[in-house]
């Protein structure tokens, strides 16, 4: 090989290995740092892993928000009108957090089935339900009519 070709080879090998490292790093980072989304119905079906960070979402059930009078601890129920998920959190809730509004929580599911939230995200969304939840319901095999029936029940049960 001429020195020039040799140099070219080095450049190419260098570039390829740099790119390979970058791609590898990216894929590794993607694998370990994504948060899968689960709706209460999926959690009730046991699809969500325990003690791993996940996202969950639904509507904050009317009348379910309970504040501890001494601290910043708060508990509330997230519902997709089919199943409920109890969430507890310590800290300040976002400005747009409201009962009957959509919410997404990021946290870890505990063995007892409750979710310890590290982050509560409320969205000022014109949708009546976070779109992820509507999709999850559909995926779980619920017909719109089932869902509405449950919705009526869960409201009636209060």
């Amino acid at each position: 090989m001429t020195p020039k070709r040799k140099q070219k080879l080095y450049v190419i090998v260098g570039l390829v290995s740099l790119t390979a490292v970058a791609v590898g790093l990216t894929l590794y980072a993607l694998r370990s740092n994504i948060n899968l989304f689960f709706s209460p119905v999926e959690i009730a079906q046991g699809k969500a892993p325990f003690e791993r960070q996940i996202r969950a979402g639904g509507m904050v059930k009317e009348g379910s928000v309970a504040r501890d009078p001494e601290s910043l601890n708060v508990e509330f129920t997230v519902t997709d009108y089919v199943d409920d998920l109890d969430v507890y959190y310590s800290g300040i809730l976002p400005d747009l957090f409201r009962e009957g509004q959509g919410v997404v929580v990021v946290g870890e599911l505990q063995k007892g089935g409750r979710l310890r939230a590290d982050q509560v995200l409320a969205r000022h969304d014109e949708n009546y339900m976070p779109p992820e939840v509507a999709d999850a319901l559909e995926d779980a095999g619920y017909q719109p009519s089932d869902f509405a029936e449950k919705a009526a029940d869960s409201a009636a049960g209060e």
């Binding site: 009108y81 014109e126 949708n127 009546y128 339900m129 719109p144 509405a148 919705a151 009526a152």
Partner: protein, 175 residues
Amino acid sequence: MKRRLLLFLPLIAFLGLAAFFYYRLGMDPSYRDSALIERDFPAFSASTLEDPNRTVDESLLKGEVTLVNVWGEWCPACKQEMPQLLDLAERGIRMVGVDYRDTREKGRQFLAEYGNPFELNIFDPDGDLGFDLGVYGAPETFLVDADGVIRYHHTGYIAPEDVREVIVPEVKKWR
């Protein structure tokens, strides 16, 4: 020549990305449109919320542009939506309600409390009409033209700005 082909790689990569964006654009969940647009309002026969003995069918919606709003007493967003619906009714738009998956008593109570913008309400306790309309829940709103054809479908809560920006222009368009 080979080198020249290599120069086309960025173009190919971009075209792939653009195709993907185009595909995504159609998937926007808030525009999950019912397949019913441009179709006739489904045939139905039901009693009214106001009067159990009065039966109405799809001919009710013919002759005038009508907004059909699917609501239920159990639906929190419907309560927040009421001021906008009353506003729409005040603007002279004919409104028909569908009381969806509800009991007569609760439905009436709801209207007494939050106001009644509707000319009348179709009572749909088992969700039959809702099923035919392909609704997921409430509120959802359909714009039906004078020939009884669905022209627009609004999924979810109608915000105050939606009244002006979306609903009223749509109604004008089909009048």
